[in-house]
Symmetry: C2
């Protein structure tokens, strides 16, 4: 087992990575203060819910099984969690456990942030995307018909327990979606990791456990360092949004659930790379390397057909807008991202019209 | 104008009390960072919305008018706020202004806590109850069909602007409801203020501006001191819940909106007083004085008919339950409340069966 901490003062917490951790009560609930509720969805439940419940049996855990899918990630979609907690008389000492992918983690974390004005929660991410990104860092929330993740809270988990064995049941498409966020860390701050991924992407697709554990640890360490420096995204944390302003526009444009988040981010990173090249920051060769790695990871490198004007509108809703100016994360090099609110509108339009088609 | 601060380190904020403050942009938005949205309801809007919008005209404020009433204080009831903010492209620098009573303040504060994971907000309370209690201290949230205020956040406003002139349009019933929370401060921590209220309750009912301003200031100062000491209610802040566990049971039992919150708290405080007397803590004379002052403030001194077993169940859902034990705030004397989780069940049942009937 690999363990390290996300350092946030009184809100610090450990991240554990290893095979077979999913029923380890000593990691999930070392100091139970009260009730435990395990929130998962109907897709994950048949694989792992019983094992988690058995591991926590001494705490008489309450299960909550949500419907599967991003389209249920809404305020109303939280109601099964709240209703169960209230029916079961769960008080302020209750701890929630999020067992599943990014949607389950975001919803459970937000429910934990709001239930009785805040209870603790633990992340047990079961998709690669959740393991390398969304389970770490305390961003929680739900979508609104007019924008993704527009309603939420910063609420840190009290631990993250990553069982790499859960990747054995993950559909190929979702494994690839997780790799998009992995490749992102290489692009924004670790050129050596990008190189390593070029050498190892086939091992990852073949689900080599050692390669996956290494990938998850390196990704989580990057995430933990960035979040420790800027928990509430007033500065450097925004670098993690490489590809996300484009990606969120894609997700909203095609309707939630039409594209996986990781797929939209992959296409979004290609758009960011294209724009970075257009304004003279990265070379054509860099753009090709990025496209090449994404393709080898079986990820899309272009967005779906969305009218450029509509695409711009969708981008403008994104939270990355500050003071009315659109801020984008672009690449100075592979391994070096910067935030800019000074993108020439013409260059952006060219990216939109030429990449979308 | 009377001004003092609630001292919470980086989250400290001023509380301003005076006549005609409602359009004072220098108090409401002294350092605007971005857009401003003013949230109110259809009952308050005709009286004050235009004045507030005019006062903030240089900031092009966006109005949001909610339906009136506690029954709209739900997760779904927040949607008009989020939809307007998103339609108007309000970004993370947007500030919300809550213009109205406790329901508007709680909902707007919670919407501010969640919108894009948190934006600032200002309270402009227009009911006595909101002015002396709910606008100060950062408790925000909405109700769930199974329990009041069960979903919410601690989110402090960046200022509280109390215009005593707004009490001129307040229905008598709501003025009385506000006095319940005022009397509460006397009961829990200020015997001299309780005496003063016995001498001045008629001036307050006659809406004497000086007496109201004095009452609001003394109440807010008590609230500010308690919150500064225990922002997240891990200890002494729970004293402010005198009468509230009983009161929330009443509100849930009769259905939201059937009783005003202050009315339920008044009956709840009488139940707490009755129980405190039963276990030998306060005298029969104290109970009579409390009943006398509540009656003179035109408040109920007994709950509506609710079956005692059902009443107990409703009480058990309250957030004040910790580790499965019911915690109640009771009185050692007028001016001295204590928190106890050691109430003899028989005494509680006697209070429920004898006071309800």
């Amino acid at each position: 087992m690999r363990t390290f901490r996300l350092d946030l003062g009184p809100r610090s917490y450990p991240i554990h990575i290893g095979r077979g951790l999913i029923d380890r009560a000593d990691l999930i609930a070392p100091q139970p203060a009260g009730r435990v509720a395990v929130v998962t969805n109907e897709k994950v439940a048949p694989f792992y819910l019983d094992r988690v419940l058995r591991g926590l049996a001494h705490l008489a855990p309450v299960p909550v099984v949500l419907p599967d899918g991003e389209r249920h990630k809404t305020l109303a979609g939280l109601d099964p969690i709240f209703t169960t907690l209230l029916r079961e008389r769960c008080d302020r000492d209750t701890m929630l456990v999020a067992l599943g992918g990014g949607v389950v983690g975001d919803m459970t974390g937000f429910a934990a942030a709001c239930y009785q004005r805040g209870v603790p929660f633990v992340q047990i991410p079961t998709t690669l995307l959740a393991q390398v990104d969304s389970s770490v860092g305390g961003k929680t929330g739900v979508n609104h018909p007019l924008g993704k993740n527009m309603i939420g809270a910063f609420h840190q988990p009290c631990s993250v327990v990553i069982d790499t064995a859960t990747l054995g049941t993950l559909p190929d498409k979702e494994l690839s979606a997780g790799l998009a966020e992995v490749i992102k860390y290489g692009l924004i701050r670790d050129a050596a990791f990008f190189d390593w991924l070029e050498d190892n992407v086939d091992r990852l697709l073949a689900r080599d456990d050692e390669a996956l554990a290494e990938t998850i640890e390196r990704s989580c360490r990057h995430k933990a360092l960035v979040v420790a420096e800027d928990e509430r995204e007033t500065g450097a944390r925004a670098l993690l949004n490489l590809g996300h302003t484009f990606g969120h526009a894609i997700e909203t444009g095609v309707g939630y659930g039409g594209w996986l988040h990781g797929e939209a981010v992959a296409a979004g990173m290609m758009m960011a790379a294209d724009l970075s090249h257009r304004i003279g920051w990265i070379s054509e060769r860099d753009v090709s390397r990025i496209a090449g790695l994404l393709r080898r990871a079986r990820l899309p490198v272009a967005p779906p057909p969305i009218d450029p004007e509509r695409f711009l509108e969708l981008m403008a809703v994104d939270k990355k807008v500050r003071h009315g100016r659109m801020r984008l994360v672009l690449l100075k090099a592979i391994g070096q991202a910067v935030i800019t609110d000074d993108v020439p509108p013409d260059a952006l339009r060219q990216t939109l019209t030429q990449v979308i088609s």
